[in-house]
């Protein structure tokens, strides 16, 4: 099991210029924000379940950019069907990183389905995503980085992280128009 916040920061420190990041509600957004403000990040603060579809649309619109989605088990579980949609479109520039803490930490640490028998990597494979992995140890971070930045997509990586209550690190603004305007300018540059 890994600590999510330093993991996301470590990954983003070696981020190539052409990488766009999408983060799902909610802990993933705080993790990405804690790594530092960057115009190439679009962070969901609502519309739970929509981060995956958004990342797919972005990847299809910007085939020369690489789109990396950071989201949680809870956010992905809300719309697992998107994995089938992604597999069928098969965008080579899309990477999904699930920070799987097996729980809904912000609402009182209720267990999610992945605390039980549900295996998100198996779901992704069953939906037809061929390049998948599950990361459970800190010694696998270099492998994870290679998959995130270099492997042909679509890539699905499930990362087992510790269910820990961390400070909520908020974006500079909660205003959606401000956020999408800034991101769009960077994304199409």
């Amino acid at each position: 099991m890994l600590h999510r916040r330093p993991l996301v920061k470590t990954l983003l420190e070696s981020r190539p210029e052409n990488v766009l990041v999408v983060s799902g509600l909610g802990s993933s957004t705080w993790d990405v924000t804690a790594a530092g403000e960057d115009a190439r990040d679009f962070r969901f603060i609502g519309a739970m379940g929509q981060a995956g579809p958004f990342a797919l649309g972005l990847a299809m619109a910007q085939p020369k950019k690489r789109v990396v989605l950071f989201t949680g088990d809870g956010e992905l579980l809300m719309g697992l069907g998107v994995l089938a949609t992604i597999a069928n479109q098969s965008p080579s520039n899309l990477v999904i990183v699930v920070l799987d803490n097996e729980s809904y930490v912000e609402t009182g640490s209720q267990p999610s389905a992945t605390a039980g028998p549900t295996d998100l990597e198996a779901v992704a494979r069953g939906c037809g995503i061929v390049t998948t992995g599950t990361i459970t140890k800190i010694s696998e971070v270099n492998l994870l980085r290679d998959m995130v930045y270099d492997a042909p997509g679509p890539v699905f990586m499930n990362v087992k992280v510790i269910a820990e209550t961390l400070p909520l690190v908020f974006p500079e603004s909660f205003d959606g128009v401000t956020a999408v305007n800034r991101f769009r300018n960077a994304a199409i540059a």
Binding site: G46, G57, A59, M60, A61, Q62, T85, N88, R184
Partner: protein
């Protein structure tokens, strides 16, 4: 004079999509949209995305617009309810969102299960700040879709075109 029988309103929608530079067509299939979907699939520069649920189309099109690509969501009225919370995304970010909805449960419907969402469709859209356009006659379909697309992409707001069941014809379902 062109009679209503001669009007191919699906071709008219297709022509508007091309004029509007819409190149991403997301859908959960409905018999009323079949020939339009087929037309789009023949185009090398249009991607047709079959969704597992309509709400995926909201996020998909918003992400595409953030990457400078325009799209449309095709669905039937029963799918509108699936989109409600997702519509917060284009609403709060002022992302242009356009959908074309084939109506069920309002005219000549014979499946009662289609009625609740069909009747609720305009109210649900209005509740989520989606401007509702409606086409009741074949002659007005192209112009209505064009007006909705202009509204959405020029003013960065959400709009829906409702294709009335009276116009589509209830028999379309049986044929499809």
């Amino acid at each position: 004079m062109t009679t209503s029988e001669q009007i191919d309103w699906r071709q008219d929608i297709f022509d508007v999509l091309r004029e509007q530079d819409i190149s991403l067509v997301a859908h959960v299939p409905d018999a009323a949209h079949t020939s339009l979907i087929k037309m789009c699939e023949t185009q090398n520069d249009i991607d047709v995305v079959t969704l597992t649920t309509e709400e995926e189309g909201v996020g998909l099109l918003c992400g595409a617009w953030a990457g400078d690509r325009k799209g449309v969501l095709l669905m039937q009225s029963s799918g509108v309810g699936n989109c409600i919370n997702a519509l917060a995304l284009p609403n709060i970010c002022r992302i242009p969102f356009l959908t074309i909805v084939s109506m069920r449960g309002e005219w000549g419907e014979f499946i009662p299960w289609q009625v609740p969402m069909g009747q609720a469709t305009p109210k649900v859209f209005e509740a989520m700040n989606v401007r509702v356009f409606r086409a009741d006659y074949k002659q007005e379909v192209g112009a209505t879709v064009d007006a909705a697309a202009n509204f959405s992409f020029n003013t960065r707001q959400s709009s829906a075109v409702l294709l009335s069941q009276k116009m589509i014809g209830a028999k379309q379902f049986k044929e499809g």
